[in-house]
């Protein structure tokens, strides 16, 4: 499951052991395609990784803070610290490889 959050809920990302945040926008084609792929793999990581999504249009300050200059942009946080970043679409296998490499 992916939880759509806004800036005022960002504490949930900080509190999670490992969190993956999908920075997206409604007008972005690749974002539209990536979102179901992230949703699909999120179940496999239940209890280990928390998944969030953030609309960059409504949260430009967060996008700036984490250096999101291209979307879709997945940022992996470990104990609230930015640990890795994945830019653009990735198929499920590649996405899992990216997350596993960070666990």
């Amino acid at each position: 499951m992916i939880k759509n959050i806004n800036g005022d809920q960002f504490g949930e990302v900080k509190d999670a052991d490992v969190a993956v945040v999908d920075f997206y926008a409604d007008w972005c084609g690749p974002c539209k395609m990536l979102s179901p792929v992230v949703e699909g793999i999120s179940e496999e990581y239940e209890g280990r990784v928390s998944f969030f999504s953030i609309d960059v249009d409504e949260n430009q300050d967060l996008a700036m803070e984490f250096g999101v200059s291209n979307i879709p942009n997945l940022i992996l946080f470990k104990k609230g610290e930015k640990a890795d970043q994945s830019v653009g679409f990735k198929p499920a296998e590649a996405l899992k490889g990216w997350i596993d490499g960070n666990l």
Partner: protein
């Protein structure tokens, strides 16, 4: 959105051949490319090793290929595929005409030829970090900012103008001879780009003249490399990694012709188009059997 059995990208001998075989095997296909097939073939002087055509000009071979498609009732969809997404159980195709309402296909055959031209030094390092190939994708991130755009053909002026509607300032560097048309809120700088790099919070384009500084860089060219066209695709230099069945590392995605490797020969491309189509047909049959 209706889903095609096979989407074939490219209208050179490989794509045409794949379309013919897939149609003979009763698959619902979409063939995406150009009505005049390919400029490369059109301009080929004389081909002497295509069996059945002892000494044929590229233009005549192109005409024969087009006639073959016409006789079989295979149409060509004129469009440009900008990205292919492996969604797991299908593929999404983003094109110039389908930015958000993407085309869908069960299998894809890539036959789009080899990329001409080299990347700029620094381009790969900067991609996704302030450098983008897609104006319509990333433009809104540069609201009230300065962007520099390198356009490799006249049609990219439309994209620059679109950026002009969003960004505070657009610097456009045309890398072609023709005069640029009138573009609103776009400054044109005639220079030859030499390299791109990151400098603190800004991005820079080094040219034969002045160095251009901006918040973001867009590089717009006709052809993108296969790894950028299909995220997650394994490549081998400028070619896609394939096996004898012309399967790639992504199940359901096949490659044929020049994009699948040397030698660059028309007859080899046509032969591979046939193999790729038959492999795609087998893939669809296996997928159907697994579902039942």
């Amino acid at each position: 959105m209706e889903r095609y059995d096979i989407a074939i990208i490219g209208t050179g001998p490989a794509g045409v051949s794949a379309a013919i075989t897939a149609t003979i095997r009763n698959k619902k296909i979409i063939l995406i490319g150009k009505k005049d097939l390919t400029q490369k073939l059109q301009k080929a002087h004389e081909i002497r090793n295509y069996p059945g055509f002892p000494a044929v000009s590229g233009a005549d071979l192109a005409k024969a290929l087009k006639d073959h498609l016409d006789q079989m009732g295979i149409g060509i969809t004129e469009d440009q595929v900008t990205q292919v997404y492996a969604m797991g159980d299908y593929f999404g195709l983003q094109t110039a005409k389908h930015q958000m309402d993407m085309l869908e296909a069960e299998a894809v055959i890539l036959a789009s030829g080899v990329v001409q031209g080299k990347l700029l030094p620094g381009e790969e390092e900067l991609l996704g970090n302030g450098l983008s190939y897609c104006a319509t994708c990333d433009a809104p991130l540069y609201k009230n900012k300065t962007v520099a755009v390198i356009g490799y053909s006249k049609k990219e002026e439309e994209e620059a103008e679109f950026l002009g509607e969003v960004a505070a300032r657009v610097i456009y560097i045309p890398v072609y001879q023709e005069e640029t048309g009138a573009m609103k809120n776009v400054e044109v700088v005639r220079a030859v780009p030499k390299a791109v790099r990151k400098a603190d919070k800004e991005r820079q384009i080094e040219t034969d003249g002045e160095t251009i500084t901006a918040d973001g860089i867009f590089i717009l060219r006709d052809a993108v490399s296969p790894g950028q066209l299909v995220p997650g695709l394994e490549t081998d230099g400028s070619h896609i990694r394939v096996n004898r069945q012309l399967e790639t590392n992504l199940p359901g995605l096949f490659a044929c012709g020049d994009i699948a490797g040397l030698p660059y020969q028309y007859i080899k491309s046509a032969g591979e188009g046939n193999v790729a189509a038959l492999s795609a047909v087998n893939f669809l049959a296996a997928k159907k059997a697994a579902k039942q």
